[in-house]
């Protein structure tokens, strides 16, 4: 467990592409022993790819790495671990059906010469490791799948700490932790014994608290490495997105009074607690929240993907009884959902962009019960124009379009369903600036024409810019509601973190 002080992990010119998509174009980074180094960048900037290369999961196409003076080119996780480089992954690499101790020891498991694994020895070793990293309270014999997410994240981190003699990589380590005391204590301990730490997080406040230097990635390139004490938040933001934050004119809303289009009262279940709100025609209601505060459950319930457990949902004054998105689109004035994960729930790979757009109303465009490439494309023209998507992309397999165009196609589809209420879950996640503007414009036009929008965004400026009102969710409840004039980033952030430090594991 002794790293020699003063060593470095130096990576230069790392490049990685998957087929035609370049995930990382040119990344340089130098981690020094006893230093906590932040890696910053927007979604899709290449952070995860860099992490995967450093941890031995993928091999770079070009570039080289030097660890403590020697060439470092791990071909597997285990080779990285032999060089004392270990990673706590964002997606958590714990196997749910094994015990905590087995997971911590994988794949070694300290088998005897014949390959036998002694259960008691595993438990003892596991316990030892857990207690070394301040997790005595976790039962090493517990099955990982039965533990709450926050505990699993801690175990993942503890395992990385155990194997990281020289370099520790923490990819979004606080994604499901609400308090950082334990984590920062462990990081401090590791730093003190001379481990080089790479800390990836999108929470700038946290980064400032624990890191000293930061490398910013943008579009697959390392833009700069800066000392955090010298850089302001604006500087960092500019490096991340490549432009200054500008104030944009906000929408002048024309919200209809009278009967609300969507009324949610006392909605509970699936982690939600007593949610009530209304949206009027012409209104854009923003939802702000940290990860997993119930926003998924709220959107999925309204979209018909989860049943209403308690409370009621009314559209145009009629109690909603729809089951599933298909019925939801057709219920009263209709409600249509733009899903969270484009790849998982959004696009239909293998089909053209046009088919992806017209799928909800296919029967309407069939001629003599037949479809052809042509009538689908023609029917997709208007939705595509609506989101400023180039018509010539319509004939392409959607898989091969850029993330931005995929998102435009999905947004176009959501609008084209004809539903008067839209549920947009993070509509601009991981897309470029141009696409964002097109999507904002489409949302505004929709609202101006009397449509109602409920949208969640992980980017606060977006909420500030687009919302007529805003809800902040915390722990499944509406923590606060902001009116148009009250919305500003500072206020939102304060509400989003609720009362920090409260956590029931």
């Amino acid at each position: 467990m002794s790293g020699n002080p003063g060593f470095e992990l130096q990576a230069e010119g790392l490049r990685k592409s998957y087929g035609a998509t370049v995930a990382l174009e040119h990344a340089d980074i130098t981690l020094r022993a006893g230093e906590v180094h932040a890696l910053l960048g927007e979604n899709g900037a290449g952070k995860s790819t860099l992490v995967r290369i450093l941890s031995g999961v993928t091999m770079p196409d070009a570039g080289h790495m030097i660890l403590a003076g020697q060439t470092y080119s791990p071909r597997s996780i285990m080779e990285a671990r032999e060089s004392q480089v270990a990673t706590a992954f964002q997606e958590l690499s714990l196997v749910p059906n094994l015990s905590v101790a087995e997971n911590v020891l994988l794949p070694g498991l300290h088998a005897s010469r014949l390959g036998f694994v002694s259960r008691s020895a595993v438990l003892a070793r596991g316990k030892e490791i857990l207690s070394r990293h301040g997790l005595d309270r976790i039962d090493p014999a517990a099955e990982v799948g039965t533990l709450p997410l926050s505990e699993r994240q801690r175990i993942e981190i503890a395992r990385a700490l155990e194997n990281a003699g020289r370099v520790l990589i923490l990819d979004e380590p606080t994604a499901s932790l609400s308090e950082t005391d334990w984590l920062f204590e462990q990081i401090e301990k590791a730093r003190a014994r001379g481990v080089a730490i790479l800390y990836i997080s999108h929470r700038l406040a946290e980064v400032r608290q624990i890191c000293t230097v930061a490398t910013v990635l943008r579009n697959g390139r390392s833009i700069a490495t800066v000392s955090l004490s010298d850089a302001t938040n604006d500087d960092i933001f500019e490096m991340m997105v490549g432009r200054r934050v500008e104030e944009r004119p906000t929408r002048t809303a024309t919200i209809a009074s009278g009967e609300p289009r969507l009324r949610v009262s006392g909605l509970s279940g699936h982690g939600l607690k007593d949610i009530s709100f209304e949206i009027h025609p012409g209104e854009v209601l923003g939802v702000a929240a940290l990860e997993a505060q119930g926003q998924q459950a709220l959107f999925r319930t309204l979209a018909g993907l989860l049943p209403v457990v308690e409370g009621k949902v009314e559209i145009d004054g009629t109690r909603a009884t729809y089951k599933g998105p298909r019925q939801a689109m057709r219920f009263a004035s209709g409600i249509s959902y733009l899903p969270e994960e484009r790849k998982v729930e959004g696009i239909l790979p293998g089909l053209t962009a046009a088919t992806n757009i017209v799928l909800p109303f296919l029967p309407r465009i069939a001629r003599m019960a037949l479809l052809g490439g042509r009538n689908e494309k023609a029917a997709a023209h208007e939705p595509a124009d609506n989101v400023e998507m180039d018509r010539r992309y319509l004939a392409f397999n959607i898989e091969n379009l850029s993330g931005g165009n995929q998102q435009k196609a999905l947004m176009g589809r959501t609008l084209a369903t004809g539903a008067r209420t839209l549920l947009l879950f993070d509509p601009t996640r991981g897309v470029d600036v141009g696409t964002k503007q097109s999507i904002y414009a489409a949302i505004r036009r929709f609202a101006d024409s009397g449509g109602s929008v409920l949208f969640f965004s992980s980017e606060l400026p977006e909420i500030v810019q687009l919302s007529d009102r805003c809800l902040v969710l915390y722990g499944g409840r509406i923590f606060r509601t902001f009116s148009r004039d009250e919305i500003n980033e500072q206020q939102l952030v304060a509400a989003m973190i609720g009362h920090a430090g409260v956590e029931a594991a």
Binding site: S17, Y18, G19, A20, T21, V22, A23, E25, N43, G44, A45, G46, K47, S48, T49, N219, G220, L305, G324, P325, R326, M329, P339, R342, K343, V344, E345, G346, I347, L348, P349, G350, L351, T355, L359, P360, L362, P363, A366, A369, L370, L371, G372, Y393, F396, N397, E399, N400, L401, S402, G403, G404, N405, R413, T417, G430, D432, V433, G434, Q437
Partner: protein, 357 residues
């Protein structure tokens, strides 16, 4: 606000998108074309082995024998398109055959409408499979296998081990008559192929099948009636199998309890050889037709040159294996990359589109 450089990026990216699109289409069409060429080449090449082979009558034989497999693998192909697998086909073929001879042939061979009832019973079997798979969440593989033995066992009991009866008139007419010198089954199968291809590639339910096969979650959110669409191919597949049973009865003028046994593996093989993905969402019916004809041609030639049935089976399996290995996504990507890198114009420098993290 799209800057000029962003426009360039977008364009550069979408040019590469163009290549990939042609790859995708080629995956299915290339295999269909390759399979068709192989069929013709084999028929012509067979002349060298024996002069009696490769003649027009030989082609007719292949088409007539292939018609069973084509009809059958249409249903199987639809099931595979949704990511499932139908193992109950042999039992349902036998069901169709036995009901056609016992119910219809033995009592009133002219009662063509009763054949509709036979197909309805088969559809019922498919519906039960569909209910188990879609609503009870039993893996398709297990559910259809179970239906297979249940139906076989019921037939065994129903016939007391020895099927009786004769072929209904309509089945005989379908398989034995000629129109303008063309054997009826060939005309029938041509019509079937046209309708089948239109259904799979150009109809609304066909599109829905692709949609749920490629991403069922996304299809649900896009408003596709997923449960119905998931259930549909099993019913269609069972009707096709029942139809094959009736056709077989017309062809050989009787039914046996094992008449369907030899068709299960070829039905899957035809779909796979035709370029469909066993994972669902990819493939077209014309490719499957090519696969069915290839297998039939292969079988006829092997029989004609006197190789025993074992070799025929081995070759069939090897063809499936080769098709699986050749149609791997990875391989196509690598070929595409190789092709791109050999073209200096589209070199990577300008392509700066990122994969989501």
């Amino acid at each position: 606000m799209t800057t000029a450089s962003e426009h360039q990026m977008e364009q550069a990216f979408n040019q590469t998108g163009d290549h990939r699109r042609s790859e995708r289409i080629s995956r299915e069409t290339i295999s269909a074309i390759a399979v068709a060429i192989l069929c013709v080449a084999m028929l012509l090449g067979a002349r060298f082995i024996s002069p009696s082979l490769g003649s027009w009558s030989q082609v007719e034989t292949v088409l007539v024998l292939g018609s069973f497999l084509i009809v059958l693998s249409f249903g199987q192909g639809l099931v595979i398109l949704t990511g499932g697998l139908d193992l109950s086909l042999p039992a349902v073929i036998t069901l169709g055959g036995i009901l056609a001879t016992n119910w219809v042939g033995a009592t009133d061979p002219g009662a063509w409408y009763l054949l509709g009832a036979v197909l309805l019973v088969c559809a019922g079997v498919g519906l039960v499979s569909a209910i188990g798979i879609v609503w009870l969440h039993i893996p398709p593989f297990i559910m259809t296998l179970a239906m297979s033995i249940i139906v076989s066992s019921a037939l065994l009991g129903y016939t007391r081990g020895t099927p009786r009866g004769a072929a209904p008139d309509l089945a005989l007419a379908l398989m034995k008559s000629k129109v303008l010198g063309m054997p009826m089954p060939i005309l029938f199968v041509i019509g079937f192929v046209i309708l089948g291809a239109l259904f799979q590639s150009r109809s609304v339910p066909g599109r829905y099948l692709y949609a749920i096969g490629t991403n069922i979650h996304a299809a649900r959110i896009a408003g596709v009636p997923v449960l119905l669409v998931q259930a549909m191919p099993y019913v269609i597949s069972a009707v096709c199998a029942g139809l094959v049973g009736i056709m077989l009865v017309g062809y050989s003028n009787g039914a046996t309890l094992r008449m369907g046994d030899d068709y299960l593996l070829p039905s899957i093989a035809a779909v796979v050889i035709g370029g469909s993905s066993i994972l669902g969402g990819r493939g077209n019916f014309l490719g499957t037709v090519g696969g069915a004809l290839l297998l039939t041609t292969l079988g006829t030639i092997i029989t004609a040159i006197g190789l025993q049935i074992g070799w025929r089976t081995i070759i069939e399996g090897a063809v499936v294996l080769i098709a699986l290995l050749l149609l791997r996504e990875e391989l196509f990507q690598k070929l595409g990359q190789y092709w791109r890198s050999s073209q200096p114009a589209s070199e990577s420098g300008s392509i700066t589109r990122r994969k989501g993290t």
